[in-house]
């Protein structure tokens, strides 16, 4: 038995070395590629911009996983709901289809306020979903896999409620809701590192910055506040923490609220960049979102951002002749990463409990 332990330890050390070496080689190759290919730096920034969208989608997704160790399939629907709520809170009218055709609110909020309120409403929907689809199963001690199905059911219901109410049309926010801004920023050539001036869309910069801010806030919330500490205790061991007098259900409600809030704001921001394309708006990000949070290490909040950016940058570097294979390449890379580092990019190896 001891010999076995030793050899597996050696094996693990070898594996560790190999994977670190691999990571280093990849990083060096990437930097070289960025700087030597024409338009490489531009692609890099494109990748960050796309990755920002993936990251901001994934943040609320991964938060719930970090506490409950379950996947909330309804997150895409919450994201969509947030975008729609903001649209209506700005006082814009429903289109001509659906039960609420041509209705609008008697008031209109300024955009930033509407976005925040839309996020709060999405957060409340998150709470409702927890009460309907998650808590009953948790109370029964059912297999976590079942919550995947019940949250899927909720997602299907929400998407179709949206369509029944407001139709399938495309909704768009007013331009320049944050005041007059140029559509794109010219970042110059970075002291000659890039042959051409690098341009990037302003909304994408906003998304990137906001996702960074959300990460910092969430990290502070989890690590720096009392609630956050309690949350971590729940994540660690729900039974013990409830014995210690922590109100587990209340904390989980808070988690769902924060996740919905972040998801709703994310939906609004992404909608600002690419418009709200219909009831399936957020659902369409679900698959990539799942990839992002797994790549980042499930439940790892900074990891979700890293995962999003890595996938974004990887996609941006697919050569233009192969752009049709872009998603395939992203998932092929994901497959390989899973095999090499199943604990995620930032995660530490988890030793199988015996």
């Amino acid at each position: 038995m001891k010999a076995l332990d030793q050899s597996s330890q050696q094996y693990r050390r070898l594996w560790w070395l190999a994977s670190r070496g691999f990571a280093a080689v990849v990083i060096v190759l990437l930097i070289t590629a960025i700087l030597t290919t024409p338009g490489g730096l531009q692609n890099f920034f494109n990748g960050l911009a796309i990755g920002g969208v993936y990251a901001i989608f994934a943040l609320g997704y991964t938060l719930i996983f970090s506490i409950l160790r379950i996947i909330n399939f309804a997150h895409g629907a919450i994201f969509t709901l947030g975008a729609y709520f903001t649209y209506f809170l700005t006082g814009s009218a429903v289109g001509f289809n659906g039960l609420l055709a041509n209705q609008k609110l008697p008031f209109g909020l300024p955009f930033p306020l509407a976005m925040l309120s839309g996020g709060i409403l999405a957060g409340l929907c998150g709470i409702a979903i927890e009460r309907v689809a998650f808590r009953p199963l948790r109370a029964k001690g059912a297999d976590p896999l079942l919550t995947l199905v019940s949250s899927l059911g909720v997602a299907v219901a929400i998407v179709n409620i949206i369509q029944l109410m407001v139709g399938a049309e495309i909704y768009a926010y007013p331009r320049n809701p944050f005041g007059e801004m140029p559509a794109a920023l010219n970042l110059g050539t970075f002291g000659g590192l890039s042959q051409r001036p690098i341009i990037i869309r302003t909304t994408q910069v906003i998304i990137f910055v906001v996702s960074m801010v959300i990460v910092v806030l969430l990290t502070y919330f989890i690590n720096g506040t009392k609630t956050g500490k309690a949350l971590r205790a729940v994540a660690e061991d729900a039974t013990t923490s409830s014995l210690l007098g922590i109100n587990t259900n209340r904390l989980i409600l808070i988690t769902f609220f924060v996740s919905g809030l972040v998801g709703g704001i994310a939906g609004t921001l992404v909608g600002l960049s690419v418009n709200v394309s219909g009831p399936y708006f957020g659902i369409n990000f679900g698959l990539k979102g799942l990839a992002v949070i797994v790549l980042g290490g499930l439940g790892d909040i900074p990891g979700a951002v890293v995962g999003g950016l890595v996938i974004g940058v990887a996609e941006a570097f697919v050569p233009s002749q192969q752009v049709a294979y872009k998603d395939a390449i992203a998932f092929a890379v994901l497959f390989l990463v899973l095999l090499l580092r199943p604990q995620g990019l930032l995660g530490r190896a988890v030793v199988q409990k015996v």
């Binding site: 160790r69 299907v156 029944l164 998603d327 395939a328 994901l334």
Partner: protein, 330 residues
């Protein structure tokens, strides 16, 4: 009855095929592996049949395509799916729980995009005019093939459950470490379960290419994977009957709400309209509710036992508090 069959012929055949797909996901789940790869093998199977019947076995007038050739196509599709399963399964089955689920989904997605980019596979339009074995507008005749496939798959899985291999699967699901200590080689049995599932999915795809008359990259996607998972879990993941019933139930449900419940005479028109336009809302809510009321699925081993009283208790009872479906964490 004739009107019923001609209206629901295609839906009934799809219920049977959904049952086969559900079994294809149930098999790896028996061994504790949450694999979402079934749609990938299903897509492969469909393309195999579409190519064979439009490019290789040509020359048969429409409506007279020989049924044995379809069976042959299904066989070839199963073999090719098994080949894919070995390539993907051997590395991927090192992973557990959600990681395995995601790796298998990555495989499905890579296949889909690859298919979309092959001119031989018809690109976005896909392959169409797949020859038909019947002069039929109802598609109900396809039960001749779909039902034996479903029954065969069900009998096979039922036999498997009682065999040594099946018990090895269950042992792996319950406790992999203990199982391997007892001399069960985990990788072998996991890959076996995964490959058997792939064969079923590939055969279902091959048959469905004929039923749908066309095959394209929209068949076999992430959405289908999640739907099949719902079939299995709503139906029950502890006995082979569960996935079959779950699939039949969930495929039929929206159709029934749409065409029967909403059409009942004397129904308030507002409610009828809601049932028609909002049937998917109801569908979603029912899925969510059903896992609450039936956390072990609609069909459980204990339910079956209470029906046929004297069956020996060969099934492992689900644990009281936390029935485990998947091997890993989720």
């Amino acid at each position: 009855m004739e009107g019923f069959l001609s209206t629901y012929g295609a839906a009934i055949v799809q219920m049977a095929l959904a049952g086969v797909l559900a079994l294809s996901m149930y098999l790896p789940l028996m061994a504790g592996q949450l694999s979402l790869a079934s749609p990938g093998f299903y897509a492969v199977g469909g393309y195999v049949a579409a190519l064979l019947s439009t490019k290789v076995f040509t020359g048969y007038p429409n409506g007279e395509y020989p049924i044995p050739l379809i069976v042959l196509e299904m066989g070839i599709a199963g073999v090719i799916a098994a080949f894919f399963a070995l390539i993907v399964g051997i590395p991927a089955l090192r992973l557990r729980g959600i990681y395995l689920a995601l790796a298998t989904i990555a495989f499905v997605e890579v296949l889909r995009i690859f298919a979309l980019n092959q001119d031989e596979l018809g690109g976005a339009v896909g392959i169409y005019n797949i020859p038909q074995p019947f002069f039929s507008a109802t598609r109900i005749e396809y039960l001749v093939l779909a039902l034996p496939l479903l029954v065969g798959a069900a009998l096979f899985v039922a036999r498997l459950e009682r065999s040594r291999v099946g018990r090895a699967f269950v042992a792996l699901r319950e406790d992999e470490l203990a199982a391997s200590a007892m001399g069960i080689f985990p990788t072998y049995y996991k890959v076996l379960a995964f490959t058997l599932g792939a064969v079923l999915a590939g055969m279902a795809g091959a048959l469905n290419a004929h039923i749908l008359n066309t095959w394209n990259a929209r068949q076999g996607t992430f959405d289908l994977a999640i739907l099949i998972l719902a079939y299995v879990l709503v139906g029950g993941s502890r006995t082979f009957l569960g996935p079959i019933i779950g699939a039949a139930f969930l495929v039929a449900l929206p159709e029934i709400i749409l065409r029967e419940v909403a059409g009942l005479p004397g129904l308030n028109p507002v409610i009828a309209t809601f049932l028609r336009d909002g049937r998917l809302i109801l569908f979603g809510v029912l899925i969510a509710i059903s896992v609450f009321f039936f956390p072990y699925g609609l069909i459980t081993p204990s339910l079956l036992k209470s029906r046929r009283k004297k069956t020996p208790a060969e099934h492992i009872e689900p644990a009281k508090a936390t029935p485990k479906v998947s091997g890993g964490e989720l």
